[in-house]
Symmetry: D4
């Protein structure tokens, strides 16, 4: 009867931060079902036209892809207990900020992950979060504490 | 712990498009629970009077049937992650458009399926959809990509 | 992966209509989880004071009981796909009408069950229902059709 | 910039309790917009058929009327801050209990008004209310206190 | 402090049924704010491309227009107390059925208006309505009764 | 197909009332999944800074911890059918009252548990509850009755 | 067409902090409609029994009063854009924390006001707020900035 | 009785695009109440600390400011019929994308405004919009058409 937590991992798709979190969570035996966007960049860009036909106009090429991806992302974010949003060093990442706003309006618990250097431009996003982490390892620690109550240096000392 | 997706197949009931989709989805091993309206046309028309008594007036005959069917359709559409709405060549199919509007107001992800020839009269319905497909095969491809991230010509090349 | 339907049986508690429905549904193998109020009349009346202490004033005796019962009924009605409300021959049964209004505002599919003689005073309740049945047997037929698509005289003729 | 309170007066239509409340509220200058069902009994019963055509079957005669009335009652109850439900001595008054359940599920503040003799059969309805009054005069006192903070014997002594 | 009712008039745009209703309602002094879609057919079809630029592909031409129109229609339907949906003799009118479904999921009071000949294909739409009228004059009578309680042959006889 | 009830145990963390309830519920075989806040006081106070870095300012030290805890508490309260809130003898316990208000606005069934001496200052909290218990044993009796219909002295006499 | 902001002032009722805020807001010409609980302590305690009859049992005396007050407070909090919650030096003030939780679950913008000495016990309440102020003057400055964009030392320097 | 439309102008604060839109809308007599964030950049950055006290840590300086601004922006976005989001040439503008996501989850009608060069990185934001405009002038044309039905080249030709 253990509760399964749904955690959506939004944002940056060019490093392996998702597996870092997923592997460590699995290692610790946390009852989490992770989800996230499709992380294959070309597939994510072209999914719309690849399936329902090419578009001459790049605007509609992008629209088709973004909307097919939205079937996945909106469904999974609505289903999530916790939405983690990571901002990396590259690209504009407006979709990550969009996901954060979307999750905030739905009342989801949000954890933002970014380097300290991005603190000022991300202040509105951070302000909607219940935690701001600098590393994937911190995110696992937060999830572990939130789900099991374990906190290194505290609950392991009893 | 794999997520099961609920997909409601609304609309046309005179071809075997539902089995086409369901069979192929099963063949690919997609974790989908499909649902839809009762597709036996006479049963669907007469269910109300057959169970709770005949009506002299055709209007109320129809009303009784439509409301009994609504117990099924409203429950399953509310439960769906994705609502697929197919418009065929025949009949007015106002119930299909009604379902699309119903799903849209509930914020469901909508996929519309119709022949290109219906593009203009269906523009308001299409505009509420996240994808417009011309064939059942495309719908399976969309569901496969959305759920598993697989995209032929892309993710199978790694 | 078969869907389980939640059906709440509200109203009259002095005949065995609930078992009639439950037994026949079980016999037909319908995937339904039935729920309903506590049907032991004295326990239902006294549950509040029996557990949290007697009240001199009958008004508060009743209040305590009604609110403890509400923990059960509100939770299960909110959880239901279909709410069946039966009005019998005796008592005022305002709680049954209350449940119907409660279910209506939540957008639940409602089936009302009463004798034809009550049609006029129950017209507002009936008007919020998707089906009005005269017997428990009709209710099972409706649930069977709604869930499985089976309709005697129609789908069994194929 | 004074706030106007919307108060819906549901239930019994055979005494002048609505005018009693409205007149006294007006006399005290309370900023209330009262609403309620159509209280002309024959008009209320026949409105459906009178406008959209007669029905042979009394069941559908009633259905048409009840649904036309529902356009009014549902709209005004959804719009209300406070829903007052009065139960009189006569008739089954299931529509009053239905309104109470409807208002409860919408989270409206409910005041119930009935004679002490009805306490037991109305216990589930009372349990959903924030106040149970025995007279229309008490209802005005409650509305006055709630809106202006005035309480005879207290705030008039300062 | 009189309440203003918002009534949205959806559907057929090729006859003057909207003015018929609006003129008569004005004549009777009903406190209604009517709204509806843009009824200039060419403007409605081309609004997207006329403002934000032409599209080679008719599909996107239509999409742009339908979405600009949706800014209006979704806002006004959400704002409406009552949604009237009229089906005429011509065109597919899927947008009318879509609006009806949209309004139904939002819990709006719906009045459908169509000729008797369309009863069977519109049965699912009718089943979601609180009234089905055959003429604009009946719609005004319904609105008049619902808002003021006046019913010809009844309340004018007192 | 038995229903599992989610019960959140909010409030006092310095006595073993949670285990009392959980043990007895287990003993009786009740299908309940209990949840609650992290009850290790130092871990609960320091979780934020322990994971995401120390703060010089005690205000932000507290903020970080309270928000990490909120990931757990908000998720589990939203998920609960019943929220039990216990007020003990010590501390201000504003978080318990906050949880009660939070649960009330979400429409959860609330059971409050406190000593009779706290009745007056807790009157607004009690007024939002469906039951007020003085002991953990009473809470188990309420849950048992609500879930199974069993009531000592009544249903065990048949 | 200027927007009126609804600001609810919850909490402490033994100092004149509400007038401080209201007077200064009026002085600055801010378009705010303030509301709050009844602040006459004896009237607030006794309103239930004073209107609907005395109770022997203090528990029900309190219940009646708390529920009559809830008609006012729940209505006005639901109506508010901003909920300000002030904690003073005296009393348990669980109703203030309850209001904060209630407002948080409704997604209201919350401003908490308390002395620095209460920071630790109020950390969960503060964590749900968008601003924590130490004085009523700061609250007016926040409201002024939020509504008009004026900020002393900044916008008055242009 | 003319309807006033609430339009929120989110995003870029370094050009005068808001006045362009507001002036032209006023010139055309459109019944719109515009709102938006505080556009004084230093005030917006420092509002939190300027009112409730300085912070040594830049992270909390930013947090305080972002949350005070959120009182304004969340309230006004929730209140809006239409949310316009403009992306300029400079800065990361994650707050604009956040607002778009927030508005999308609330079901608001969204108009995005950006240069064609930003089409690819903004595809997820555009996909949630009902119109994508390249200039403020187009936005006024859209609002004019949506509110009044006027379309240059069409409705002015009658």
């Amino acid at each position: 009867m253990e509760r399964t937590w749904n955690v959506y991992l939004s944002g940056e798709i060019h490093t392996d931060w998702r597996s870092e979190i997923e592997d460590e969570a699995k290692h610790r035996g946390l009852p989490i079902r992770f989800s996230g966007p499709v992380t294959d960049h070309p597939a994510s860009d072209d999914c719309g036209v690849a399936i329902t036909g090419a578009e001459d106009n790049k605007f509609w090429h992008d629209r088709k892809g973004a909307q097919v991806n939205a079937i996945r992302t909106q469904t999974l974010i609505k289903d999530a207990d916790v939405v983690v949003v990571r901002f990396g060093e590259k690209y504009r990442q407006w979709n990550a900020a969009f996901d954060a706003g979307y999750a905030a309006a739905l009342g989801k618990a949000i954890i933002v992950n970014h380097d300290e250097s991005l603190t000022h431009p991300l202040k509105e996003v951070d302000a909607a979060a219940l935690a701001v982490a600098e590393t994937p390892a911190q995110i696992v620690d937060i999830l572990d504490y939130v789900i099991t109550g374990r906190l290194a240096g505290y609950t392991d000392k009893r």
